[in-house]
């Protein structure tokens, strides 16, 4: 399975990306608004200052007079440490203030306030100008009051707010990332729950899943259920096929063997008898191999859904040995059993299968007129069934490799075999949580195969 990245991580990254974008956007907007607000505040203060000055304009003895109110300038100190300039013009004549203050681009109408930005004394200044008509002598003179201020305070205020906004944006982003991770995990929880429910099931539990799933997961659920249904059908077909194959192969083989036996008794010619004996032996081997193949298949399927019933190993050993007694006696091999009561939990069919294959192997590879010993011992939490023979042993090479499927020992030439016996035993034991131990018999030739199982 090739991983294409986690949906959770991708979702988190996506949400974090959106949050980052929104954070930057909000910082940018707040910065712009802060600048705007600070500038408007300055405009308002400048307008108030100019208006306050203009309100003191009066006419005395035909001359325009005014008095700069203290508040007009003290209010300008509120924004920040900014330089202040002012100018009062009566018509074209400078009444007071800085005569070289730049003129505003548009002259305010009487009673109106005009704003402009310019440069004075080496710094950018914001100017507010208010105009009033003052009756001096016989005719009204337009008097223009201009108040100008540098913009450091505005810059400082908006920078401070911008920095604050940046801090808040970062905090917002961090919170958003944490929430994104939580949201991603929460929205993926149904998926994980379904996955956990599926993996908790036994290997042969192919019932359809009935869970409350979000709408988005419904197609996945129904596909999964359909797949399991098909899989179940396929497994049932395989089991049927195995049963059918076992039946179909074994029955004709038994018929052939019986016919060959009859023929053997009826012919006189020694060479024909020899040929018939070979036929019988080949049929026996085929039957045995087919039996083992079917055993292997049975083990594979039954081990997937292992039954756990109490099994007495001594009883099992007696039955199995009893079943093999005819085979052994054909070679004058004595089966010696030393058993103690040992109970394990497991599938008696499979355990019998495993033990039969091991015993069968021992008998097969033993020379005539020897002993095959089966000894059951318990130690702590384990039961051990040791089967030792006086045969040629396990040969060269690593003993454990003999449990691989269709692998046979290096010293088995001349003896017919499928190479499945130990594989079956190994599969059964590992399904039961046990193990198969292979070693040479103590004190001389022969192999010792031990089936180790946990006691129940």
């Amino acid at each position: 399975m090739i991983g294409t990245g986690s949906i959770g991580r991708r979702l988190t990254l996506l949400l974090a990306g959106v949050a980052a974008l929104l954070s930057v956007l909000s910082w940018w907007m707040v910065t712009g608004l802060a600048r705007e607000a600070a500038e408007r505040t300055q405009d308002n203060v400048l307008a108030a200052s100019a208006t306050t000055i203009a309100e003191t304009l009066r006419s005395e003895q035909g001359e325009v007079r005014l008095e700069l109110p203290y508040s007009a300038f003290s209010m300008l100190g509120a924004i920040g440490e900014d330089r202040v300039f002012y100018q009062v013009m009566a018509g074209d004549k400078l009444l007071t203030g800085y005569d070289d203050l730049p003129a505003l681009s548009d002259t305010p109408a009487p009673g109106q306030i005009a704003f402009d930005t310019g440069e004075f004394s080496g710094e950018a200044v914001r100017m507010a100008s208010v105009s009033r008509l003052v009756l001096a002598g016989t005719q009204p003179i337009p008097v223009k009051v201009t108040v100008a201020q540098t913009r450091n305070g505005v810059g400082t205020i908006s920078e401070d707010l911008s920095r604050l906004a940046a801090l808040l944006s970062v905090a917002f982003f961090v919170i958003a990332v944490v929430l994104s991770a939580i949201a991603a995990r929460t929205s993926l929880r149904p998926l994980n729950e379904i996955a956990a429910a599926v993996s908790r099931r036994g290997p042969s539990d192919l019932r359809p899943l009935h869970r409350n799933a979000p709408t988005e997961l419904a197609p996945l659920m129904s596909s999964l259920n359909r797949l399991m249904e098909r899989l179940g059908q396929s497994i049932r077909r395989s089991e049927d096929f195995i049963a059918e194959a076992a039946h179909r192969v074994r029955t004709p083989l038994a018929t052939v063997r019986a016919q060959a036996e009859i023929a053997l008794r009826s012919v006189e010619d020694e060479s024909e008898k020899q040929r018939l004996r070979q036929i019988i032996r080949a049929v026996d081997e085929s039957s045995r191999s087919a039996g083992q193949l079917l055993d292997h298949a049975t083990v594979t399927y039954r081990a997937d859904d292992l039954a756990r019933v109490p099994v007495d190993l001594s009883e099992l050993a007696k039955q199995t040995a009893g079943g093999l007694e005819p085979t052994a006696s054909m070679k004058d091999i004595r089966l010696r059993l030393f058993t103690v009561y040992a109970q394990v939990a497991g599938d008696p069919v499979l355990l019998e299968n495993a033990l039969r294959n091991v015993l069968d192997n021992a008998i097969k590879y033993s020379p005539e007129e020897t002993d095959v010993t089966l000894r059951i011992t318990t130690s702590g939490t384990e039961a051990r069934i040791a089967v030792s023979d006086e045969g040629p042993g396990l040969g060269e090479g690593p003993a454990q490799a003999l449990t691989e499927r269709f692998r046979r020992g290096s010293n088995t030439q001349g003896i017919v075999g499928s190479g499945l016996g130990l594989t079956i035993a190994e599969d059964v034991l590992s399904a039961h949580g046990g193990r198969l131990e292979l070693k040479s018999a103590e004190g001389g030739t022969g192999a010792c195969v031990a089936l180790v199982l946990p006691l129940s």
């Binding site: 203290y70 300038f73 003290s74």
Partner: protein
């Protein structure tokens, strides 16, 4: 032609020099030619310890110290006179110089340590805070109640014209920049100022240019009281001749506190040395104890400043009374009150 040019230059220089009405001047030679030229309103005997202290840290530097009135100082710096440091008690004029771009910006750890109200835009730095006080002669106040508020003082002056006739002194605000600052700030802050001026005007007030002479006259009994005297000078005089004949009084209803400020003029050739001097003054301004220094720190400890009046604020509002129209209006009113002969 060249001679003519030279003559013109010489004449101009002479005019400039003549234009500067120098009250006092002293040169403190260092081991090199480098000279820090300071223009100040503080008298030499007050400021000499600071200069010597500074020179002890920079022995190579010569110091040229010129004392002028605050108005002279403003005119000189405004006209681009060649000085490295300008120290003045007239906050409004100093502020206007800074506002009009006549000052160089300076920034250091020491100036950053100053409170916000003691600096403006890193152009102007306060290093002392000195209150306006009333100085009175204990001899001439025998049998009279010592006033604590302006209202008390008005009543006292009104009821005892024979004791105070010709014996009340104050600044001539037309000449003294500091006197004008105190007067305008007081007129702005309290209504009692104009009533007090009216009462003083009827008593044939003596007008002075400087605090020093006023205190001398009080000490010698020529004046019964001097109004709006710079507290630091008065304290210094009392410390010198503690005969007990002079008493310092801080009005309880309201007291102006002036900040003595420093700026580095744009024409300065030695802004680093001037900055170092400002650093030293700022450090001394922030000292906890008054010590032996003639001028008080920014936050006077002990008895002073329990009234809670802050110093006059460094800000654009200081320029209001410098406006020619406002000044003319204020002086007209002041003259009407003070000169009722």
């Amino acid at each position: 032609m060249r001679r003519a040019c030279l003559a013109v230059v010489l004449t101009l220089w002479a005019t400039l020099a003549a234009a500067l009405d120098v009250e006092d001047h002293r040169h403190y030679p260092g081991t090199s030619d480098a000279t820090l030229r300071i223009l100040s309103t503080a008298d030499l005997d007050v400021f000499e310890p600071y200069l010597l202290e500074f020179q002890s840290t920079r022995p190579a530097l010569s110091i040229d110290y010129t004392v002028v009135s605050s108005a002279e100082l403003y005119t000189a710096i405004e006209g681009g006179a060649d000085f490295d440091l300008a120290l003045s008690s007239a906050m409004d004029l100093q502020f206007r110089l800074a506002n009009d771009g006549r000052a160089l910006s300076y920034r250091s750890d020491r100036t950053e340590a100053l409170p916000d109200w003691a600096r403006w835009r890193n152009l102007i730095f306060a290093f002392t805070s000195e209150p306006a006080v009333v100085v009175l002669s204990t001899d001439r106040f025998k049998g009279l109640e010592i006033p604590t508020t302006r209202q008390d003082l008005i009543t006292l002056l009104r009821e005892n014209p024979e004791s105070f006739g010709g014996a009340v002194g104050t600044y001539d605000v037309r000449d003294s920049g500091l006197g004008y600052l105190f007067a305008t700030q007081e007129a702005r802050s309290t209504d009692a100022y104009w009533r007090l001026s009216e009462v003083m005007g009827r008593l044939d007030p003596q007008l002075y240019c400087c605090s020093g002479q006023m205190i001398d006259d009080v000490a010698e009994g020529r004046l019964a009281l001097a109004y709006n005297v710079l507290g630091s000078y008065a304290a210094e005089r009392i410390a010198r001749d503690s005969g007990g004949r002079v008493q310092i009084l801080r009005m309880q209803d309201f007291a102006n506190v002036m900040l003595r400020t420093a700026i580095i003029p744009k024409t300065s050739d030695r802004p680093e040395d001037a900055g170092a001097m400002i650093d030293m003054l700022a450090t001394l301004g922030l000292r906890e104890e008054r010590g032996d220094w003639p001028l008080p720190p920014l936050r006077p400890s002990g008895t002073a400043d329990t009234t809670g009046f802050g110093p006059i604020r460094l800000g654009p509002a200081l320029m209001v009374y410098l406006d020619p129209l406002n000044r003319r209006a204020f002086l007209t009113e002041w003259e009407a009150a003070m000169e009722q002969r």
